[in-house]
């Protein structure tokens, strides 16, 4: 079956612009997660959704970062006024329920110039 999909695959933007990253989870998965992977660093948790609610937003690095999920499916991660330090790979994962095994998408590679 189809796995987690993310779009775009790559995004190059200029400092100060806003970007939107999209995640389509595995069909039927109620839990969705966003992580960030910076060069030389491990995966860093950003936010967790159960259904359309986000009970854990503790990893969002600043108020420039926000995310939403609609219809219990697709999620969008928005970064406003991008900075060069936002350059990273943004990974989305989904699981059947919170606490179950997380399956990752291919990621969106964001480069802020």
């Amino acid at each position: 079956g189809a796995g987690v999909s993310q779009s775009p695959s790559n995004k190059v933007t200029e400092k100060g612009k806003d970007v939107e990253l999209r995640c389509d989870p595995i069909s039927g998965h109620t839990a969705l997660y966003w992580y960030r992977q910076s060069l030389g660093q491990g995966l860093e948790f950003l936010i967790y959704f159960q259904g359309n609610s986000a009970p854990d937003k503790s990893g969002l690095p600043s108020d420039r970062f926000s995310a939403e999920r609609t219809g219990g499916s697709v999620s969008t991660l928005t970064i406003q006024r991008t900075q060069q330090e936002d350059s990273a790979v943004y990974l989305c994962a989904s699981s059947l329920w919170g606490g179950e095994t997380q399956y990752f998408g291919p990621g969106t590679r964001l480069l802020v110039l």
Binding site: V4, Y35, L43, F45, L91, G99, Q102, F104
Partner: protein
């Protein structure tokens, strides 16, 4: 604070040379320990979940084991296609997020 440390950072092996990767963790109540494989330019691919000390799981040339303080990923007679970065992550009770180590970059030389 939950911590995960993986060693070594990088490992080069000859094809057929068996070895082990280490994942040490300090957490407040382990729910599960996860191993993933990540190829360059791709997302992590799930390998194993271990829930309790003494548990072992196997898949082809890989075997994962768990104690109360660490996990090992044993690779037996590796092949070049086993080359990848292997990531360890923990999940604690009452929290759905994964906390990752920085990975071991494994290279198998033909």
């Amino acid at each position: 604070e939950d911590q995960v440390t993986q060693s070594p950072e990088a490992l080069r092996l000859q094809e057929g040379e068996s070895s082990s990767l280490n994942c040490s963790y300090t957490v407040s109540g382990l729910r599960g320990l996860f191993w993933y494989r990540q190829d360059p330019g791709k997302g992590p691919e799930f390998l194993f979940t271990l829930y309790s000390a003494g548990e072992e799981k196997e898949k082809e040339r890989l075997k994962a084991t768990l104690t109360k303080k660490e996990s090992f990923l044993h690779i037996t007679a590796p092949k070049p296609e086993d080359s990848a970065t292997y990531l360890c992550a923990v999940q604690v009770r009452g929290n759905e997020k994964l906390t990752f180590g920085t990975g071991t970059r494994l290279t198998i030389i033909p």
